[in-house]
């Protein structure tokens, strides 16, 4: 992975840039000394590191607006950052850019139960939203595994998912509004507390735009009443095919579980060794199925799912009998990444989505690739919606292994696209999958997306080097190529 070549002239202007930022954000809100910059060098994709020119930590929308306006006027690149938990390098700094951190925007501004929403600043953590409303029996549904640390602003930028998004949707399905600062410093409000807004759905467009379109300074999220009960099943299978077929059967029976997860044997073993959740370490595949709703519904559907699993040969069945037990079932899955981190010095977490029916074929091919590359792999899988997370194990201290792991990961994602899937289900493109965008989109598709970028940030200063393999100058993309001359489809009626 290579970032665009930094501009030495910008790096040389460090002193001037820091002075200008200090004028906007006084005191300790500007970090420029090398030791202070270290914590900002990377995000959750720790394979890549870069020290920025400076980090600025504003506290008000006005400051964000002034920072962006100054940076635009002075041609300075800006990388927005929430908690820095991105798994795709979305917050990876640029050598010739500043990082704009939103960590001081950490207040819950309003909880409006009558309208079932909360207005929060972007630096509030995902779990912090739930914490603010759970006393009244509410919660915020999207639950990325990093929810204790990751922020709502980052969730909006990445359109984060989680294990419950099969039933409750991604971030985009749980937002009502936001305040957005454009690169030119203009502040716009998108949506509000109503269920739709006038004009283009720019809120939907900005969600998942990976910090390339604007900086979110306030978010209005939908909150939901907690289901009366939730129950989880652990189902162990001797074959991956049996587990995969069970997932299909559950959906075909008209059941949309709150969560429907799969882990393969290496992932089961790693998780069990780490947290001792009671997983069957001999199983080829483990399903975690969570059902929620009224007690009567949970009881009926639990029986139903259990019977479907039995028909497909499940030889390990546990059903949670208490909230403690349900959380224990999840503990292994939620800790799967750190658990794998214990069995290998480094790992890459991939994030492709495939049509669920292709799972056995894809897992078979992944294990073949694992043998070819000589690198281990553990699979965790949001099975209900086809979102695959192969964890590629490597050792960065062994020369060549990082590159090998990158190539292995690229092969997996190409495979996902080849079977009708996509490059990323919830982690974002970032720098990690940037160079694979051509696998899914042709140059025209990418040009259409880049023109959207140009509508928001014509100077291409906001988070460049992410998402797009090549950033074309906006003027170049704006040209209309009009072909007169030969008519296509001469038989068609004309004007």
């Amino acid at each position: 992975m290579h970032m665009p070549a930094p501009d030495p002239a910008l790096i040389a202007r460090k002193g001037e840039i820091v002075r200008a930022l200090r004028k906007i954000v006084p005191g300790e809100g500007v970090v420029s000394e090398p030791a202070g910059l270290v914590p900002f060098e990377s995000d959750g994709l720790s394979a890549y590191r870069q020290t920025p020119i400076a980090v600025v930590l504003p506290e008000t929308t006005e400051q964000v607006s002034e920072i962006l306006r100054w940076c635009q006027a002075n041609g300075v690149k800006v990388v927005p950052r929430g908690a820095g938990t991105s798994l795709s390098g979305g917050a990876l700094p640029l050598a010739d850019g500043v990082v704009l951190g939103l960590s001081k925007f950490n207040r819950v501004l309003e909880v409006d139960y009558a309208n079932r929403c909360a207005v929060v600043q972007p630096g509030v953590t995902n779990l912090g939203v739930t914490a603010a409303v759970e006393g009244q029996g509410f919660y915020y549904a999207p639950d990325p595994s990093s929810q204790i640390a990751c922020t709502i602003g980052g969730n909006v930028a990445e359109n984060s998912g989680g294990v419950h998004c099969l039933k409750y949707g991604l971030t985009t399905n749980n937002l009502l509004g936001c305040e957005l600062v454009l690169m030119n410093g203009e502040v716009v409000r998108l949506g509000g507390k109503a269920m739709d807004a006038e004009g283009y759905d720019l809120l939907g467009l900005v969600t998942g735009s990976e910090g390339l379109l604007g900086v979110v300074t306030e978010v209005t999220v939908r909150i939901l009443p907690r289901p009366e009960t939730a129950r989880a099943l652990l189902l162990g299978f001797a074959t991956v095919e049996g587990a995969a077929a069970t997932v299909g059967d559950i959906i075909a029976a008209g059941v949309i579980p709150a969560g429907l997860e799969m882990m393969d044997n290496p992932a089961i073993r790693a998780a069990e060794a780490f947290v001792g959740a009671g997983y069957p370490v001999e199983a080829a595949a483990l399903l975690i199925v969570e059902l929620d709703g009224p007690e009567a519904e949970c009881a009926e559907l639990t029986g139903h799912v259990r019977a479907l699993a039995a028909q497909r040969g499940a030889d390990f069945v546990r059903i949670s009998n208490s909230e403690t037990e349900r959380l224990a079932f999840w503990a292994g899955r939620k800790a799967a990444f750190p658990a794998v981190g214990r069995i290998a010095p480094d790992y890459f977490c991939m994030d492709g989505t495939i049509p669920r029916g292709r799972l056995p074929q894809v897992l078979t091919r992944i294990s073949e690739l694992s043998a070819e590359y000589g690198l281990g792999v553990a699979n965790v899988f949001h099975a209900g919606d086809g979102n695959l997370h192969p964890l590629i194990l490597y050792d960065a201290d062994i020369p060549g292994q990082l590159e090998k792991a990158e190539a292995f990961g690229a092969d997996i994602l190409k495979l996902c696209v080849a079977v009708g899937g996509v490059l990323t289900g919830e982690h974002g493109v970032g720098v990690e999958k940037r160079d694979l965008m051509g696998e899914m989109f042709d140059p025209t598709d990418l040009a259409c997306q880049q023109r959207v970028k140009c509508a928001f940030d014509p100077g291409l200063l906001l988070n460049p080097g992410k998402v797009f393999p090549t950033l074309h100058r906006c003027a170049e993309l704006g040209r209309m190529h009009v072909h007169r001359g030969k008519l296509a489809f001469p038989e068609l009626p004309r004007f």
Binding site: R116, G137, C165, G169, L170, L182, V187, G192, K193, A194, M195, E198, G199, Y200, D201, L202, G204, T207, G208, S209, P225, R226, P227, A252, G254, I256, G293, P294, E300, T353, P355, R356, G357, D385, G386, G420, G421, V422, G425, E426, H427, V429, K433, M437, M440, F441, T444, D445, C448, Q449, C454, A455, V467, M480, V482, L487, A488, F489, L492, F495
Partner: protein, 390 residues
């Protein structure tokens, strides 16, 4: 209004659409894009040189019930899609309305039209809007370029979410040539609980109470007495309706819990099965307001403020989306209706009898113009459909 003398073209392939749009751009012509043409009464449009109908782009490309995914061309009729997915026990969960009788329109709504207008019915409060089920598409932009976005799987964040941008763009950015939607299992059964005689503010409270409990309400509407007279309700007083859907045991348990929670609101009755379905079809189609000559407004508001909107505006109102959607028949000036909606934190769309969309100004207005220009810089597609140069 549309000049009916304008020629109607009906391309049969995306390539033909592409050729027509590219030529229109080169010749400085303007195109009106229609599906079934059933929403043409909404708003105005600058003069066009030709109408492009997607009616003959009507192929079902792929339906994979186990993957919860459906791919079709945009000209497929909504009724046909609903029949197809129902045959596999599934549904379009956003419950798209037709509004044909409401608008006095002839013709059959198409799926492309439903998406272009982002039309969602009563289940919006639980399942989300059309935009929430729109997974991917292929289209021809106003530049005459064929492009695609999104994917054919239910979970995807690769690239910008241009589906959201297309949903509700009323054909001003691109002509859809293929769309992929998420489908969901249809509920096994449904029950609607009814409360009677509540003034609007009390009804609003009752709906909020139902929505804020663990009852998974999938429809929450309040009707004034004139609208409650029709079958199957035949009530002579204001009526508040709350729908519960799902598996039998679950619906029964939730109905019991909800009835207990609402016992301070007087007598509770229920509509079951087919009667419940018939009732919600009427709400979805705003049947009570069909055929009325007065200007028709759709106010989208924070749900708890919903009842306040029409109270500042003399006329007749009924409420869906737990109050978040207020339908209003009023002779009040458009600027006043919009101002009231805006002051409550929402907006107003005029479906009949006035300009459909309100003005956009300042930074947000300029941003809209730049987004339009990104896809259709020459203003070839549906010129003026969204007003203010879009």
């Amino acid at each position: 209004m549309i000049d009916t003398a304008v020629r109607v073209l009906k391309p049969t392939t995306p390539e033909e659409v592409q050729a027509l749009v590219a030529e229109a751009g080169a010749a400085a012509r303007h195109i009106e894009v229609v599906g079934g043409g059933t929403k043409r009464a909404i708003g105005a449009m600058d003069p066009v040189d030709v109408v492009l109908s997607t009616q003959r782009l009507d192929r079902i490309v792929d339906y994979a019930p186990d993957e919860l995914v459906l791919t079709v061309q945009p000209g497929v009729r909504l009724a046909d899609i609903e029949k197809l997915v129902a045959s596999r026990g599934q549904m379009l969960a956003f419950e798209p309305p037709r509004w044909t009788r409401l608008l006095g329109a002839r013709g059959e709504p198409t799926l492309g039209g439903v998406l272009a207008a982002n039309l969602s019915g009563p289940r919006r409060i639980r399942a989300g809007a059309a935009r929430d089920h729109f997974l991917g598409f292929a289209a021809v932009s106003g530049r005459g370029e064929m492009f695609k976005a999104g994917g054919k799987v239910v979970k995807n964040v690769t690239g910008y979410d241009l589906m959201k941008l297309m949903a509700g763009s009323w054909g001003t950015l691109a002509i859809l040539t293929e769309v992929t939607l998420k489908v969901l299992p249809a509920p096994r059964t449904e029950t609607t609980l009814l409360l009677f005689g509540l003034p609007d503010v009390r009804a609003s409270e009752a709906m909020a109470l139902a929505m804020n409990g663990p009852f998974e309400v999938s429809g929450a509407a309040h009707l004034p007495s004139f609208a409650a007279r029709a079958r199957p309700l035949k009530a002579e007083m204001p009526t508040t309706a709350l729908r519960l859907e799902g598996f039998e045991a679950s619906v029964a348990a939730r109905a019991e819990g909800l009835a207990a929670a609402l016992k301070g609101y007087g007598r509770i009755d229920a509509l079951e099965g087919k009667h419940s379905q018939e009732f919600w079809n009427q709400i979805r189609e705003v049947e009570a307001f069909a055929g009325d000559p007065r200007p028709l407004w759709r106010l989208s508001l924070p749900p708890a403020a919903g009842w306040r909107g029409p109270h500042g505006l003399p006329g007749d109102a009924l409420y869906d989306w737990a109050g978040g959607l207020a339908w209003l028949l009023t002779e009040e000036p458009a600027a006043k209706v919009r101002a009231v909606a805006r002051s409550l934190g929402g907006h107003a769309l005029c479906l009949r009898g006035g300009p459909a969309f309100g003005p956009r100004d300042g930074a947000l207005g300029a941003l809209h113009e730049r987004v339009k220009a990104a896809f259709d810089p020459l203003g070839v597609l549906n010129p003026g459909r969204l007003e203010g140069g879009l």
